[in-house]
Assembly symmetry: none
Homo-oligomer: 126 residues x 4
């Protein structure tokens, strides 16, 4: 799996990394139980600081995406995080804002839903 960091983005590096790992899991590029590169290794590959990779990994562990195995190191969790109340509230807030913005700019519902559908399909296991 290829990680691509935009060092000039407004999004922090650790957040970009975190999102790409989640997207990797969704796409099936990272399978459940699969080992991830070590913090040191990944940091070197991407050309970023150890602490930054560490932060991403820690958040993903916290969220339930990753687990640590004593022998194998960090790997993708077998059980994905749940849809809890907290998650759903954040999601709603985010969607509400995004759609408000899109609506103001004149995007119509069909365009938007098509876009969403497209991404959903790109993740569904073949």
């Amino acid at each position: 799996m290829i990680i691509k960091i935009d060092f000039e983005s407004e999004t922090p590096i650790y957040e970009q990394l975190r999102r790409q790992i989640i997207e990797g899991i969704a796409k099936g590029e990272l399978k459940k139980g699969e080992e991830l590169p070590s913090v040191r290794q990944l940091a070197e590959d991407i050309g970023i600081n150890l602490h930054t990779v560490n932060k991403s990994y820690n958040i993903l562990k916290e969220e339930g995406y990753l687990v640590v195995d004593r022998r194998k190191g960090t790997m993708v969790s077998d059980i994905m995080p749940k849809i809890d109340e907290n998650y759903i509230n954040n999601l709603k807030e985010e969607i509400k804002y995004i759609i408000a913005d899109a609506y103001c700019r004149g995007m119509n519902k069909e365009e938007f839903l098509d876009l969403c559908e497209k991404y959903f399909h790109s993740f569904v296991k073949k």
Copy 2:
């Protein structure tokens, strides 16, 4: 229109304010050409510093949501921002991540699209 700031949130105050103004425009609570409260007034109402309000207003001006009439002060622009390449790229990145996250957590497409549809309908002019 009522502004509600969560001072505990990780989202900066100016960004919360910015989003609520956009949502207000989408909902029709703020109409095109309508005057907004002065930075001082709004800052006092919300209980934040006027510079923070100023920052929100300035970003919204830059984006094309607000304009300053030198006689009347700040008001909602008659012409909403466009759907340019920059916007669409950001939107796609955001949607891609949100859907990847939702998909991993086991949300199905219909649930997600229903949610989106619901918000779209809440904005459409009756």
Copy 3:
């Protein structure tokens, strides 16, 4: 002569007015010795404050573009302002910045000079 104010411009109204009067003189739409509308009249026509028109007129008097005649009111001066050291220094600073900006953006010299020439020709008396 038609005055067109953009109330949403970053340029102050009094400055827009001042510039348009100078441009009117350059174009010959306002001839030397010609009377200008009264402050009150012009303010009403444009839909701006008396003080604002007054400020423009006063600056233009200061600069030598306008003079006040006891009987006729404000009129275009017979003698235009001089090219003094102060003027030339400001001009150079302004031109230096404008050309630096244009140069960085990749505008070539010919394009720029053509533009200048075009405006010069638009002012030359037929």
Copy 4:
């Protein structure tokens, strides 16, 4: 590169700074990809507040002159801003006024074009 602020000037400090950075890029004193001093460093050097430097930097980022590399800090962008419709309209308005003023004062076309040419040559890479 030496920054020189005129504290008596009517031009805001942040705007003077902004212009000098653009001129620095045009002259080649600031090369593409070159790192700029931190806001704190530059503020101290010039003897102004860091927020003022910050404002200049932010505007230049918005315009596309600067970028922030999250590892290295602020640097000159590799890609200069474009000549878009907005820029060209502003440029034309500015040039029109400047030439109207110069023309009224009796400056002839050749003098003016020579001045422009001189500045263009001072920026062209040797």
